[in-house]
Amino acid sequence: MPPSSPEDALRAPFDALPDVDTMVRAAVRWHFDPRTGSPFWQDLARSLPFDPVADVAGAADLVRFPDVGDHLRTVPVRDLVPKGFGASAVPLVFESGGTTGAPKRIVELGFWRRTAHWIDRCLDEHGVPRAGPWLYLGPTGPHVAGYAFGTVAALRGGPFCTVDFDPRWVKRNPRQIVAYLDYVLEQAEWALRTQRIAVLWATPPLLVALADRPDLVDLVSSTVDTIVWSGVAASAETLHLLDHEVFPDVRLVGVYGNTVMGAAPQRPGEGCVFEPFSPHSVIEVVDPDGRAVPYGERGRVRVHHMSADMFLPNMVERDLATRCPPSRPGGPDGLSDVTSAVCSDGVLAQGVY
């Protein structure tokens, strides 16, 4: 029986989430209905060579949409707000990229709060204790991670300590990276020494820098229960060393994702396999022709985002990953061993976030 309105699917409770095809149809109905859709999609819909509401039946049709990523660099954010939220809705605004060239903007009207509730659940599944103080060594301001994880900590009853962390400045000044990481760690030390931090959020390069400071490693090992890492990829060897050699008594939970796609926390259990917030985020691992690779094979990451806030189909990321089978029947594919795609000059380009 189809849901009576798109909102039923878009806002479904976590134990009654629809399947991906139902979510696709709901998202299309919401965003392309002149009464509920955003001016941004209303405008773009006119240039589409098909009728989204009539012609899009499920996930397989998402690739018919253009990648609208570049439009997000210039569109006035008010135009991104779906009319269904009402004329008085005021969004939060977050950005992706922005180191070189204009950033992409997204609006937050509740999806990232919903994602925070979902991450909260995932952390329970990992056995992460509730209520302990968090230390967040990541970007805030225009970066959604600060808002999302601050919300997660609050939902879990954990005070949220932060530092100022500007990934764009570091990417622009790669020769200063060591000094910058030192500067962040110096601030982290005050919180670690005085606040009995239970959950430490950090990027892999920051954890690598921390691992080179025996005093801080001792401090983290003696107080921190869980390290949540995110922001950039960590290699298999890096994860192995962090997990078994540097922090053998600390739980490590990775969260893959970005501003545009959403979050994909690590599944509980052996190995580091990320699983998206399905059916809001769909992650595909595809070959150069855009076809899904077989399980166990590597390919380029392609994502689709479907929520009441935004509809962002068919966005090809710069990441490569291995496609993993679902952890349960009907569950979404996972992905592992994420690496940054090789740039044209043959070197890997990454930042600290």
Binding site: V208, E237, H240, L348, Q350
Partner: protein, 459 residues
């Protein structure tokens, strides 16, 4: 498939980060285990803490390692397999690796002599010669194996040396590091850290000093960093003045331009000619076009080979710079030979370093003086003009001056290559000792344990 993994003070470390390298025809030939920055930091820390070894024992181990490198099975690899795999992976003609077998052995045998040659004459008494650090990181090149004859001198000087190989040639440093460990060098003195791009930066940050081999961009990136010694493009040159009959010196010109495939920083990229520049360009081109087109592992191969996509990129770069059409010669197995080119004498585009034999022939007049000869790693002067030679010797941007028919590629492990390495690695210190005249209280001082970093080096 052969695998090369990181090698540290505790031996080979089987990394979970892997990369498969392909030969020039695109066939997988080697699996590389990678050391990400975290592993680099951990291994460098272990190197610092590892046991020391006496100068004499290090020299003996280096000498033995040179012999193993040249003659023995190292990690199950025969010298012949090393040479063949090197040629297939890098595309550099096999004669380069064959020459490396003897060059590495000779450099290792003569290490004591080489270190003594670098030692300032005034050292002794109250002047001691000490290292500027303990760990040297080397971001190694892949254009030719010979640069790997340089860094073992740092071990002789007491440094712990960690080498990040190029993906074009992890074979030479892997064989050398393994040979050094097999030869009895304390393993803390030498590590191999293949790694992704960011691991190179991590190595330089973790080490006290660095050697960086690379392009003009790499040079610019490290410009002004006093902890890094950069080895960039050589811009090596030959000057032929009018009174010299160059017809008789074509062998020197060909060896300088195209020796070992023309990929070394010592290979000449410019020939300056007083007089008949057109005639020389034509004669040189005639000799170079006769070099055979062969796969790199063929014993008679003299010209480098690249995978088709790489060859296409190299050709495009060359054409974009010179406006001269250039087509690599297809070998039939998805690889192509990069045949030599003589540019000039009338081309406006300035000389650039290409990864194949490529030389600019440029007219020179006495009134030009030595200005066009500046910034030259190795300069061969085919002239009888003593005043020019003297000027070049005084010119600080020309580290090597060969007078007479010596190819720019000439290599002697005892002579300075772009200056002596010790000029960067070592410093002198005043150390006076009047401790016998100290008034003491009679209480015993605690015994001091630990290695002294101020121990004089080189006997």
């Amino acid at each position: 498939m052969r695998a090369i993994d990181p090698i540290g003070p505790d031996g080979v470390y089987r990394s979970r980060d892997r990369q498969v390298l392909s030969d020039v025809s695109g066939e997988p030939i080697l699996e590389l285990g990678l050391a990400p920055p975290l592993l680099v930091n951990r291994i460098v820390r272990r190197m610092r803490a590892a046991d020391g070894q006496s100068h004499a024992d290090r020299l003996a181990a280096i000498a033995r390692a040179g012999a193993l490198f040249a003659e023995a099975d190292v990690d199950g690899e025969t010298p012949e397999e090393y040479c063949r795999t090197h040629a297939r992976l890098s595309g550099v003609p096999i004669r380069a690796a064959t020459r490396a077998l003897t060059a590495v052995r000779e450099a290792a045998e003569r290490m004591d002599e080489a270190v003594r040659a670098q030692r300032p004459l005034g050292v002794g008494g109250s002047t001691v010669w000490v290292r500027r650090g303990d760990v040297l990181g080397v971001l190694a090149p892949g254009n030719h194996p010979l640069p790997h004859t340089l860094w073992p001198a740092a071990i002789a000087l007491g440094y712990r040396v960690a080498v990040r190989p190029s993906t074009r040639d992890p074979l030479t440093p892997a064989r050398l590091v393994m040979a050094l460990h097999d030869a009895g060098l304390n393993p803390g003195y030498c590590a191999l850290l293949p790694g992704p791009h960011e691991a190179g930066g991590a190595l330089l940050a973790a080490a006290d000093l660095g050697f960086v081999f690379g392009s003009a961009d790499t040079v610019a990136h490290h410009q002004g960093d006093p902890r890094v010694r950069v080895f960039g493009p050589g811009h090596s040159k030959i000057l032929v003045t009018a009174e010299v009959d160059w017809h008789a010196e074509l062998d020197v010109l060909v060896a300088s331009v195209a020796g070992d495939g023309g990929t070394q920083c010592l290979n000449a990229t410019t020939v300056l000619v007083e007089g008949d520049a057109d005639g020389l360009a034509e004669a040189l081109a005639d000799r170079l076009t006769r070099l055979p087109v062969l796969p790199p592992e063929h014993p008679d191969a003299t010209v480098p080979v690249a995978a088709l996509p790489d060859a296409g990129r190299i050709a495009n770069t060359f054409t974009a710079h010179t406006a001269i059409a250039y087509a690599p010669t297809y070998l039939g197995d998805d690889s192509a030979v990069l045949r030599p080119v003589v540019v000039g004498p009338s081309t406006a585009a300035p000389a650039v370093e290409m990864p194949f034999p490529c030389v600019w022939v440029i007219p020179w007049r006495g009134t030009d003086g030595i200005a066009p000869l500046r910034n030259t790693l190795a300069l061969t002067l085919l002239t009888t003009r003593r005043d020019l030679v003297a000027e070049c010797l005084h010119e600080p941007t020309i580290p090597t001056v060969h007078w007479g028919p010596t190819p720019t590629t000439a290599h002697d492990p005892v002579l300075p290559h772009d200056g002596h390495l010790a000029e960067f690695l070592m410093t002198t210190k005043t150390h006076t000792d009047r401790s016998a005249q100290l008034a003491t209280t009679g209480t015993r001082r605690p015994a001091h344990v630990g290695r002294s970093s101020a121990a004089p080096v080189g006997g």
